[in-house]
Subunit: 202 residues, 2 copies
Amino acid sequence: MEYPSKLIEEAVNEVAKLPGIGKKTALRLVLHLIKEQESRTQSLAEALTNLRSNIMFCKICNNISDEEECSICRSHRRDKTLLCVVEDTQDVMAIENTSQFTGIYHVLGGVISPMNGIGPSDLKIDSLVARVSANDNQIKEIILALSPTMEGDTTSFYINRKLATLPIKITSIARGVPMGGDLEYADEITLGRSIIGRTLFS
Amino acid sequence: MEYPSKLIEEAVNEVAKLPGIGKKTALRLVLHLIKEQESRTQSLAEALTNLRSNIMFCKICNNISDEEECSICRSHRRDKTLLCVVEDTQDVMAIENTSQFTGIYHVLGGVISPMNGIGPSDLKIDSLVARVSANDNQIKEIILALSPTMEGDTTSFYINRKLATLPIKITSIARGVPMGGDLEYADEITLGRSIIGRTLFS
């Protein structure tokens, strides 16, 4: 496509590098910014540069944070005996939204995925092992809350093996039919696992 | 939603102000930027601020431009007797992509839309009339290429009335069944107009 201006072209190319945004959408966004006041674009650009240069990762759990230790790790109201291992920050936010978890987290920063060239050393697994081994924080249970995919399962197995010698209970989040889902539309693997993993009807 | 960091929250709020981007997509984009190198975010922010502070509008046709006069108005190879009136820059790009038009443009910057509080004075209609009236550039035909909507038609009628006294041919782009479209799926208004506006089969 030919653009009426080099500036537009550069901006479109930059915006189109974002995931899920193609050239057409990028052009729409860029033309929108031109129509709006200049201060809008400035505050957008500032928010992004500010974010990127000042963001930190909690030195305990590796979650995104404004300070050296994140608000969850600093909190005295969280149950420090219960540690939930997740893939990334979005998972922490999703679990926090449920209000069902009062423990602390460990953010791996991804899952083992040989296809994408991500091995155990690229993730925060060593720091997890060190954190649990030191255990001055009295972790009693580790919940593996990784995605129910091949990569997630591989990562769970790997972590389980690494921690097997420690006197700690290792659990995994329940897998089964989603709430509100219709049984006849559940895929056979999910339904099969929901039968294997059946629980007492209390 | 609760964000793990104030910086994230600010960035998400700014990004979510863009059209068609909600909080969830904004969060995904922002977390993507955090994962990438810092230079990526910087070049994105720079491209946007550069664009917004340096962009100009052609003083002749009001199209987006890097200079005072856009490349189409400056070109000696364009037919200066043929003027195409369009709503915005995207329309200029769409028509340029067809390679079927060799004339020049006039970009209105919108269409008359009382519902959105846009009247004729908010658009570049006066400058169009002045441009055509002066006519030192020998415009012989004006093509109204506005969207086939209520607002587009209103704007076309308004411009037509404003220019009626001038010795200039005013035409409108053809409306009918789109190429490759199946007749049985065309709506009745489009099909009706395609019969009224039938042309000689040459």
